[in-house]
């Protein structure tokens, strides 16, 4: 559905916000993840952004710029609030959002969507390796496979991701 229609639907019925969330979660998270230090901070600030977005959705006016631009601005503000609170310094400077940051966030959103399309075992290895930060040995034990088989799955997954990112 057209983004403008989705926004209007969600402005009238907040339970329709789910589609906007699905379309924008990945890019917002990716943008924030590069500006903060830890996964926990990225998660906390992403939560803050989507709660603010829903609370302020009625104020969003369609002027032709994509909804994502509104969310990136909101994310940038939420990161600034976070660091101001942490450092207790009002003078903390909020960096401008650069084109490179947007391009990078969009690329990593595409990559996360590509991970979701991997065959189940390859996806599981990628999630365990990069999110749970488990070793090859730990993954092998949990999946009941040899360490060589897990390395092979990791290799195939990365080959698939590379191919998908080339075509994407």
């Amino acid at each position: 559905m057209d983004e403008r229609l989705l926004i209007e639907a969600a402005q009238g019925d907040p339970s329709r916000f789910g589609e906007l969330y699905e379309q924008n979660f990945g890019r917002v998270y990716a943008f924030i993840a590069r500006r903060v230090r830890t996964r926990q901070e990225a998660q906390d600030i992403t939560s803050e952004v989507f709660q603010r977005a829903l609370a302020n959705l009625k104020r969003f006016e369609w002027r032709g710029s994509p909804f994502a631009a509104w969310l990136y601005r909101m994310a940038s503000n939420a990161i600034a609030d976070h660091y101001r609170q942490e450092s207790r310094e009002i003078s903390w400077q909020q960096p401008e959002i650069t084109d490179d940051e947007i391009v990078s966030a969009e690329r990593r959103d595409l990559l996360a969507r590509s991970v979701d399309r991997l065959p189940a075992e390859q996806r599981r290895v990628i999630l365990m390796r990069f999110i749970e930060e488990q070793s090859i040995r730990e993954i092998a034990e949990q999946m009941g496979k040899s360490e060589g088989a897990i390395k092979q799955l990791q290799w195939r997954a990365m080959q698939n991701l590379r191919a998908q990112m080339k075509n994407g």
Partner: protein
């Protein structure tokens, strides 16, 4: 370079990246080099469980008293089927670490249907759904195109509905009908119990159900069709006969007081699968099976 060496090289690079020592990665092979760049980006991969739980927390959900709950093998394939066949829209999915889906919700018209993957000893459960739509011919054709099989073709029934039935690839029956009847949502569970009269009594005692119209009787005196209201939702049934035999329906019942409804369900003859407890997804939850084999997930959102 042999593939085995490349696999080792990539793994060493991933180890360094995950440990936050990306600077130590010394690329040797250009193929590995390209993958190392991707591995660097994967450091920012969002946790799918975080994505699902944030959506659960942030997005207000449509909650009617009754939500049909399917248990199928392959929710990841069932969702696209519901989208293709009935214009469903995925509202929510909670993935499990093993790739299966613990819980998902799909909006069809003005209704929500829920589902979870059957796994291990928890087998699939199939049942029947009455689907009221404006365009029965179009939806019927669309369902067949999406992979459903015909149960019976579209006919004009003497009671005024135009309807046809299909069986989806996961075993559930869909009774598609027009015109949309007053008081009905798009989706209404339709049960075929053996002993519909007793089922009506059970629903009344257990869940405070009320009949919304005088049940239609078959020539043998059994109930051909009855519609009951529970809270803001309807449930329909007809005595099992011919090819319409009992199926183990699954229903998520949203109530104000899980514990009280659980107690009345058990007093009316339901069997406990689990007693009320505070589920981690923010719901007081109990699970019973009624004397006719239907599964009831009684929940009070908190």
């Amino acid at each position: 370079m042999a593939e085995r060496d490349l696999i080792q090289q990539l793994d060493a690079a991933v180890n360094a990246i995950v440990a936050g020592r990306a600077k130590d990665v010394r690329p040797v092979d250009p193929d590995v080099d390209a993958m190392v760049a991707i591995a660097g980006d994967l450091r920012d991969l969002p946790d799918p469980l975080f994505k699902a739980s944030l959506k659960w927390k942030v997005v207000p959900r449509v909650r009617h008293t009754i939500a049909p709950h399917f248990r199928v093998r392959g929710v990841a394939d069932y969702i696209p089927f519901l989208e293709a066949a009935f214009g469903g829209v995925e509202e929510f999915r909670a993935p499990r670490p093993d790739g299966l889906i613990a819980h998902a919700e799909v909006r069809i018209g003005d209704s929500i249907v829920e589902m979870g993957d059957a796994a291990g000893a928890v087998g699939p459960i199939a049942f029947g759904i009455h689907l009221y739509v404006d365009n029965v011919d179009e939806l019927y054709a669309r369902a067949l195109k999406a992979g459903a099989t015909a149960l019976y073709p579209i006919v004009d029934q003497p009671y005024g509905d135009r309807e046809g039935s299909v069986k989806d690839p996961f075993g559930n029956h869909w009774y598609i009908a027009s015109p949309v009847r007053a008081g009905f949502r798009t989706v209404t569970p339709f049960l075929h119990p053996r002993g519909a009269e007793r089922m009506l009594q059970f629903l009344t005692a257990a869940f405070g159900a009320r009949t919304v119209e005088e049940p239609d009787k078959a020539p043998d005196g059994t109930i051909a069709h009855a519609a009951m209201r529970i809270g803001d939702s309807l449930i329909e049934m007809g005595e099992a006969h011919g090819e319409w035999q009992p199926m183990e329906g699954g229903i998520h019942l949203y109530v104000d007081d899980c514990d009280a409804v659980y107690r009345s369900a058990v007093a009316a003859g339901a069997t406990t699968i689990y007693e009320p407890f505070d589920a981690p997804y923010g719901e007081r939850s109990a699970y019973v099976i009624d004397p006719f084999g239907n599964h009831w997930y009684i929940g009070t959102p908190k």
